[in-house]
C-alpha cells in the first residue's frame, strides 16, 4: 500500500470563477489583509475549444509538492512534509518568519502572515480536517470543481478521479524546477506557464556555499592545531629554559 498523499484533482472546466473557494478559505483560516491561501488564475479565452468559445479558469493553492523547494529553503525545519499524509506543514512555534520559504516556492503559494508574523499557506484546512471536515474551498465550491482526498486511495474523491484519469491529468509546473505537485488538473486549465523558477534566497546560498564550509574549515584547523599542541605536550617534556621555570615546576 502506498503512503497517504492528500491532494486535489481540479476540473478546470467546471470552475466558474465565482471565487467562493477564496472567500471560504479566507474566513475559515483567518487569513489576514491582502494575503490569500488559494487563487483562481486569471481566465483566458480558449480559442481552440470546440463548439462555443469560453473563458477557462485555473483554481489553485499550495500544491503539497513531493519535492517541495519551500522545505529545502527552510533552515529550521519549521516547514516540513508530513509523513502521515504528505501535506506540507508549518510549525508556527519553530518558524521565525524569515521568509526564505516564501521566496523559494515557484508558485507564490506562501505569504508572511502579518498577524502571526510567521510563514503561512494552504494546509488543506488542517484544523477542519482534524474534526472530520473537508477543506473549506472544497465544501464551498458550487460546481464541485475541486476533488480532494488521498491520491493513493481509489476510494477517496480525488483518488478515484486520479486513478481513472491519470493519463489526462496535468500538473502545472516550471520545467526548470519541477517540484512534483500533488494538484492535478482535468479539462483545460488555461495558462500552464505562470510558475517561476524556484529561487533560493541569497542569504541561504551564501550560508550553504560559503559560511558553512568556511566554519567547518575553521573548526577543522582549530581542532588540528589543538591536537598538535596536545600531542606535543604529551610527547615532549617541558624544555623551557631554566629562567622560565616557576617555583611550581611550570614555566
Amino acid at each position: 500500500m502506498m503512503a497517504k498523499q492528500l491532494g486535489m484533482v481540479i476540473d478546470a472546466d467546471s470552475c466558474i470563477d465565482c471565487k467562493g473557494c477564496m472567500a471560504a478559505c479566507k474566513v475559515a483560516n483567518e487569513v489576514p489583509g491582502d494575503n490569500w491561501r488559494n487563487w483562481i488564475k486569471d481566465g483566458e479565452m480558449d480559442w481552440n475549444a470546440k463548439g462555443k468559445r469560453r473563458m477557462v479558469f485555473q483554481p489553485g493553492n499550495c500544491m503539497q509538492c513531493d519535492k517541495p523547494t519551500c522545505v529545502t529553503a527552510c533552515p529550521t525545519g519549521a516547514t516540513y512534509k508530513s509523513k502521515a499524509d504528505g501535506v506540507v506543514l508549518i510549525d508556527r512555534g519553530l518558524c521565525i518568519g524569515c521568509g526564505q520559504c516564501i521566496k523559494a516556492c515557484p508558485y507564490g503559494a506562501r505569504y508572511r502572515n502579518d498577524k502571526l508574523k510567521v510563514a503561512d499557506k494552504c494546509d488543506f484546512c488542517r484544523s477542519r480536517r482534524e474534526v472530520g471536515l473537508e477543506p473549506a474551498c472544497v465544501s464551498t465550491c458550487p460546481t464541485k470543481a475541486r476533488a480532494f482526498g488521498d491520491l493513493n486511495d481509489p476510494a477517496s474523491p480525488a483518488g478515484k478521479l486520479y486513478a481513472a484519469q491519470k493519463d489526462k491529468a496535468v500538473q502545472v509546473v516550471n520545467a526548470e524546477s519541477n517540484t512534483d505537485p500533488n494538484i492535478y488538473y482535468l479539462g483545460a486549465p488555461g495558462n500552464k506557464h505562470w510558475p517561476v523558477k524556484a529561487q533560493m534566497p541569497s542569504a541561504f546560498t551564501f550560508w550553504k556555499n560559503v559560511a558553512d564550509p568556511g566554519v567547518k574549515v575553521l573548526m577543522g584547523l582549530m581542532g588540528v592545531g589543538v591536537l598538535a599542541m596536545l600531542g606535543k605536550q604529551l610527547v615532549m617534556k617541558n624544555d623551557a629554559p631554566e629562567e622560565h621555570h616557576g617555583e611550581d615546576g611550570h614555566e
Partner: protein, 248 residues
C-alpha cells in the same frame, strides 16, 4: 610550590566567567539544534532530532534558546552598568591595547613554542632577529587579547542578529525579510567563529599545562606570584610597584 599567591580575579569576575560559560554552552547546544536542514545541519539530522525530543518540540527549543539568551543579556547589562568603572573599563582597556612590536613577536614565538617546544622555537626565530625568550606581557597576553576581541565582536554580532530574528516574530514585516534572512547566516558565522575561539580557549586553559595556574585562578581568584612573573611580567611589575589593584 610557590606559597605566595596574588589576586587576579574578583568574585564578580569569576561569577560572570562561569555564568558566561554556562550560557554559551547552552546557547550553542540549542542553537545548533535549531538548524534542521539536510543542506546545513552541522552535525547531521540526528542531533536536532535528539535535542528537540528532549525539549518536546522545536518550538519549545526556540523558546528555551531565547529565554537563556535574554537572561544572559540581562545579567550582562547589569554587570556592565554596575561594574563599568571597576571591571569593564579596565578589561576593555587591557583587551584592546596592542603593542605591535612586542605582541607580534610574542604571537610568533608562542605559537612555535606550543607546537615544537622552547629549544626548537629559539632556533627557528633566530633568522628573524629574535632571541629565544618570550617578550613580557601585561595582564593579558596578546593571544588572550585577540581571543577577547574576537569573542566581544562575536557576542555583539550574535546579540544583534539574534535580536533581529526574535523581532521578526513580533515587530518586523514582510519587507524586512532580507534582514532576517541575513541575520540567520551572520548568526551562524558568528557562532562558528566564537566556538572556534572557545575551543582554543578551553584547550589553553583546561588542558595545556602551561596555563594551568590561570585555570585554577578561575576558581580561587589568585595565581602564584611566580606564574604572574613569568607569564604576565608587565602586570606583575605594576603590582609590585603599587598595591594589588582589582582588575576584571
Amino acid at each position: 610550590m610557590s606559597s605566595r599567591q596574588i589576586p587576579r580575579h574578583t568574585r564578580a569576575g569569576i561569577f560572570i566567567h562561569w555564568f558566561n560559560a554556562a550560557c554559551w554552552f547552552f546557547l550553542l547546544a540549542t542553537g545548533v539544534a535549531l538548524i534542521s536542514n539536510p543542506e546545513l545541519n552541522p552535525l547531521g539530522a540526528w542531533y536536532p532530532k535528539a535535542v528537540r525530543a528532549v525539549f518536546m518540540g522545536g518550538g519549545n527549543l526556540l523558546v528555551a534558546h531565547w529565554l537563556v539568551a535574554f537572561i544572559w543579556l540581562a545579567v550582562w547589562v547589569v554587570y556592565l552598568f554596575w561594574g563599568m568603572n571597576r571591571f569593564v573599563a579596565p578589561f576593555l582597556n587591557s583587551a584592546f591595547t596592542i603593542e605591535p612590536n612586542r605582541d607580534i613577536q610574542w604571537m610568533i614565538k608562542k605559537n612555535l613554542q606550543m607546537m615544537v617546544g622552547y629549544k626548537m622555537m629559539a632556533k627557528l626565530v633566530k633568522p628573524l632577529g629574535y632571541d629565544g625568550t618570550m617578550p613580557d606581557q601585561g595582564y593579558y597576553n596578546v593571544g588572550q587579547k585577540l581571543a577577547a576581541q574576537g569573542l566581544i565582536f562575536g557576542a555583539l554580532a550574535l546579540v544583534g542578529t539574534g535580536f533581529i530574528m526574535f523581532a521578526s516574530k513580533y515587530f518586523l514585516t514582510a519587507a524586512d525579510s532580507w534582514l532576517v534572512q541575513w541575520s540567520i547566516t551572520v548568526h551562524f558565522i558568528a557562532a562558528g567563529v566564537t566556538t572556534a575561539l572557545l575551543i582554543l580557549h578551553i584547550y589553553m586553559a583546561a588542558i595545556s599545562k602551561d596555563e594551568r595556574p590561570a585555570f585554577i585562578s578561575m576558581f580561587t581568584g589568585t595565581v602564584p606570584a611566580e606564574y604572574a612573573k613569568h607569564h604576565h611580567r608587565l602586570w606583575y611589575d605594576e603590582l609590585e610597584d603599587s598595591k594589588p589593584s582589582e582588575v576584571g
